[in-house]
Subunit: 354 residues, 2 copies
């Protein structure tokens, strides 16, 4: 493996000194980039792109060619695990992900098996090792998974949901059934992420996109508890370096203290939290990633610059901050605005690291 040339992202997550605040963007390989759209058209549909290691590698590297970013993230979907469990993932235009066989009964949940990542998810491992090789040590590679709760919402609802009616009904009516599902998912995510590390991932992130839909108690019972189980089971070292783990619960700004107790290295923040407040609350324990509203990228470069300045100044001096958006970049953002955003972080952040 090539030696890592830029370790700013890993260092900031571990609160080691850096020369400037590292930056990457959630969904940086995405539809706002014309080169991404071209490769995706070549692949056919979204899952074919995920399952083709060369094309998945290509789209992972595209934003790095265009921008001076401090990390690459595996191009994949959060629903690979349920798909590998046999639920039959497919995408309907305008509808988002769907499953042919939702698991909304105790019988269907009992039948689920924890996938072997080197068999049922071999295509993801191939993408990880290909990307790692092609990165040539330029920046670290982030592996990721959806959280058990988030995966379970899609599996039980059969797709996206606004109200999470079925899974919440299960949570309050037959919690033992849901716990069985979440426990299998926690085991699956753990082995999936460990396999990503074995194949070259240098940092891990768990996306809990829908944990914020839960009550403060239910979040602890149905989401955080299983992320804790995963954190406890993860490989935390590879190639002689620590593999940092970041937890991101969208809408979880009220629960940062509990999340920081899991022993993860960093928390992802959405834009509803003031990052300075978050640092005061949990900054002794964890690094913070975030947290500009992706919609700011619709503004002028001056407006973007101003927002970056505000976030950097709110976080304040010293390491422990990875700049990012508070959610994935939107598809209708002008790529030049994304460039202006990244440049603003490069330009404004060094003074906080003297």
């Amino acid at each position: 493996m090539a030696e890592l040339k830029n370790d700013r992202y890993l260092r900031a997550l571990l609160k080691q000194p850096v020369d400037r605040t590292p930056i990457w963007m959630m969904r940086q390989a995405g539809r706002y980039l014309p080169e991404y759209k071209a490769t995706r058209a070549e692949a056919g549909d979204f899952m074919s792109l995920c399952k083709n290691k060369e094309l998945a590698c290509e789209v992972t590297l595209q934003p790095l060619r265009r921008y001076d970013l401090d990390a690459a993230i595996l191009f994949s979907d959060i629903l690979t695990i349920p798909d590998a469990m046999g639920l039959g993932l497919y995408f309907e235009t305008g509808e988002g992900p769907r499953f042919e066989r939702p698991t909304d009964t105790i019988d269907s949940i009992k039948k689920l098996c924890v996938p072997d990542p080197e068999i049922e998810l071999k295509y993801v491992m191939d993408a990880v090792s290909t990307i790692r090789r092609e990165l040539k040590g330029d920046v670290p590679l982030i592996g990721f998974s959806g959280s058990p709760w988030t995966l379970a919402t899609y599996m039980v609802e059969g797709g996206s949901s606004k109200t999470f009616e079925k899974i919440k009904k299960m949570a309050y009516e037959e919690p033992a059934t849901l716990h069985m599902l979440l426990d299998k998912l926690a085991d699956s995510v753990t082995s999936y992420l460990n396999a990503q590390v074995a194949n070259g991932a240098q940092s891990l992130m768990i996306f809990d996109s829908w944990g914020g839909a839960l009550s403060h108690h239910a979040y602890r019972e149905f989401s955080l508890r299983y992320m804790q189980k995963i954190v406890d089971g993860l490989t935390r070292h590879a190639d002689g370096r620590q593999v940092p783990v970041t937890l991101f619960t969208k809408g979880g700004g009220l629960w940062l203290e509990a999340m920081a107790e899991t022993g993860c290295d960093a928390l992802g923040l959405d834009w509803t939290v003031d990052i300075g407040d978050a640092r005061r609350r949990v900054g002794e324990k964890v690094a913070l990633q975030g947290n500009m509203d992706p919609s700011v990228l619709y503004g002028t470069p001056e407006r973007i610059h101003q927002e970056v300045d505000q976030i950097l100044s709110s976080y304040g001096e010293g390491t422990g901050h990875v700049f990012n958006l508070g959610h994935g970049i939107h598809q209708h953002v002008n790529p030049e605005h994304a460039g202006a955003f990244i440049n603003s972080v490069h330009e404004l952040s060094p003074k906080y690291h003297k």
Copy 2:
């Protein structure tokens, strides 16, 4: 006007002693009730129901006949103001509210006029006075409006949205245009709510359903600032009693301190906040309304009882708590479970008011 027989709800909002924690349910006049569905079928569509004062009164009173509730809420829609401004509100099955003429340009916003509630919104005022009369003083009548930001999201997006792409683009690209819209809406909401009080509303609530989509700074600039303007302009007394004002920003749990500074009497809480934490943060300034996840009503009566117990015990002793759900009751809830919920509050709460 008949004298008010049950003022528990008003007293709790003003932090005066009560014998038990008052309770009402957001969207208590709604599709979970078969009698509501029958009246709505009689009316035709949703807006015809809102515009018929007898039928609007009938559905307002239905839940009070079935349950021992401590307040009635005007049956209406949050989008009456934009409709009165000429945007052409209509409902598409499964799609939610839509506007025929969205206001997404500076020219269309400049043309908007503040409606006269006694003219363009006369049908709402007729419903208010009819309901107040028919309540015969049993419980107080709550008037309400959407917040300027929430109304603006529908007006600019043309309907419901997940990402609020158009309005956030406006917020970051041409904020002055959005401020012009929000300012007109704040004036409209103020006169609309004051007219509701003049016609019989005894308490007011502002629903900021989408404030939680904003960043912590943008929330203050685009939502809270205009709710502040409304609070400053409201009639706070009628019939020799104070008219309490409740602000509810869904997803606003991080911002309670700022909301409490507006001078409102109470804050609505969704279920992501622990109500005891909220009380410690802002309980000296305001009363609190909430905050059970409506999905708990899918659980067994025992599970519902347990959740009510937990919320009451978290809030603790003394007045200042109005029990409610953290959002509107879901349409597929069993009405008997709603009854069990209300009974649990009646049964468990007196011990906190000795």
